[in-house]
């Protein structure tokens, strides 16, 4: 595995390998000295051209726990704001002998573009509406903690599917691990041809949740509502929001995931976010472990 650009082209074996490696990494995060010398002397550059604090911090912590040096490049302070092209910036970063580039951009395909042009491993930290592979991997890791295996499980993903990279990566990851995935959204937020990914599109919670072992709630961006995909927050929360009543549609011991940050009262009721079925904080903890595993596996020299 030379780069981590997406789950779409990963084999089940490669996914299992990351998840297995993450176990050991999680244990390190639970020690008092949360550090191992494995990536000592290596440089991880976080190229975050779309603003993000949480994912960037997660990758930074992951790098530092492996004793790597972590450098952050954002759009505002970068040469891109001086009209340098992305391709040129990438070449410059590679020329500085970075060992890994972790890339996030608001445009799909940017990590692929960089991977074609630089000689170092590239990790996709989220590209536009395309994929967010480490999120899917940490979601799978979190589910396995509670469920053991995903084989035969039913997962319902609810939210603005058409604009969600988390949805796409989750779909690929969970189906490769043997789960049945349903997506639920109002028609305005359901992308064309989503069946091609092997999922069943649903247009209500009543259709999607019965029998679900897992409910994944996606963040609704308020800006999109203004973009006339949906009339109001109140109506969205009333029809696609996860609260005690809608959660009861799923299996009694169903667990709840959310990639964060959560909009309390919009896609997820405040009490549900803090209740027992929610694994939202575990996701954050596991996120560091999974990202450590990814950095470890990709810096092996390529295979």
């Amino acid at each position: 595995m030379r780069h981590l650009l997406g789950i779409e082209h990963m084999t089940r074996d490669e996914i299992e390998r990351v998840l297995e490696t993450s176990e050991a990494m999680l244990e390190i995060s639970q020690r008092e000295i949360k550090r191992v010398p494995t990536l000592r002397g290596r440089t991880v550059i976080n190229v975050f051209l779309e603003s993000s604090t949480r994912t960037r911090v997660s990758f930074e912590i992951a790098a530092k726990r492996l004793s790597a040096d972590a450098i952050n490049v954002t759009r505002a302070g970068s040469s891109l704001s001086k009209a340098e092209t992305l391709a040129d910036m990438a070449r410059n970063l590679a020329a500085m002998s970075a060992d890994v580039l972790v890339v996030r951009d608001s445009v799909a395909g940017v990590p692929h573009m960089l991977a074609e042009r630089v000689r170092v491993p590239v990790v996709n930290a989220g590209d536009g509406c395309h994929e967010h592979p480490t999120q899917a991997l940490l979601d799978a890791f979190t589910l396995r903690q509670s469920l053991g295996s995903l084989e035969g499980r039913v997962v319902a993903i609810v939210g603005d599917i058409s604009h969600s990279r988390v949805a796409r990566s989750d779909i690929y990851c969970f189906t490769k691990l043997g789960a049945e995935v349903r997506v639920a959204a109002p028609p305005t937020m359901m992308p064309a041809g989503i069946e091609a990914l092997g999922v069943k599109p649903c247009f209500s919670m009543q259709e999607a949740l019965p029998g679900a072992d897992v409910v994944v709630m996606l963040r609704i961006q308020q800006e999109r509502l203004a973009g006339a995909l949906f009339p109001s927050v109140r109506e969205y929360a009333g029809t696609f929001g996860l609260n005690a009543r809608t959660l009861a549609l799923a299996k009694p011991d169903a667990i709840v995931l959310h990639p964060g940050p959560i909009n309390r009262g919009v896609e997820i009721a405040s009490d549900i976010a803090d209740a027992e079925p929610s694994r939202i904080l575990d996701q954050v903890t596991n996120g560091v472990a999974v990202r450590m595993a990814v950095l470890y596996l990709l810096t092996g020299g390529g295979a």
């Binding site: 176990e23 050991a24 990494m25 191992v36 010398p37 494995t38 470890y296 092996g300």
Partner: protein, 196 residues
């Protein structure tokens, strides 16, 4: 996945040796010999310091685990006390450049106790170049500040590359560098050490 089997890496106790190797290999320590060796190691540990109140045994994952189990069982029988037993995976502390670029799989470490002020005895199956123990010392020191670290090994096969000494050894076995020394479990469940 994992161990390409370079000389610098510790030989390990495996249930899944290749068919070819199972057919080969001369046994240098059989089950009875292993039992005697681990018993003697336990005695020597107690001789060095009879007070076991701050003694902890740390097995090097994975080869040292069956050895540590035997040693710690003996120690508990002899001293009539429970002695904390941990398992330390040193994959992430290794100093060797990865051979063909495939990262070895790190296993979980279980150290459910503090090492501060303790007498730590690291236990491995085969002592060879000393690099494994060096990595294990780095790891233990990340967990805290032990009072002392000592090393026990079932087999010492020589060819040290670092100034690491063994405190308690089960058996010294001279070997050629190219040979492999493996602790393995037979089909009938018995342990044995072979040279391949």
């Amino acid at each position: 996945m994992s161990n390409p089997g370079q000389p610098v890496q510790p030989a390990r106790a495996v249930d899944r040796e290749s068919e070819r190797e199972l057919a080969q290999g001369r046994v240098v320590l059989d089950a009875a010999g292993i039992q005697r060796a681990t018993t003697r190691i336990a005695h020597e540990i107690l001789e060095r310091e009879a007070d076991v109140s701050d003694l902890v045994i740390v097995a090097i994952v994975r080869g040292g685990e069956p050895v540590a189990k035997l040693v710690s069982a003996q120690l508990e029988q002899l001293s009539k006390q429970t002695i904390p037993l941990g398992a330390l995976d040193i994959t992430l502390y290794r100093d060797d450049v990865v051979a063909r670029g495939v990262r070895p799989m790190p296993r979980p470490t279980r150290m459910p106790f503090s090492v501060d002020g303790k007498r730590v005895v690291l236990v491995d199956d085969v002592m060879f170049t000393g690099r494994t123990i060096r990595a294990a010392m780095d790891a233990v020191l990340d967990f805290g500040r032990p009072a002392s670290i000592q090393v026990a090994t079932l087999v010492d096969r020589g060819h040290r590359e670092l100034p690491i000494k063994v405190d308690f050894v089960g058996k010294n076995i001279p070997t050629a560098r190219a040979e492999r020394v493996v602790l393995r479990k037979r089909a009938d469940g018995e342990l044995e050490v072979v040279i391949v």
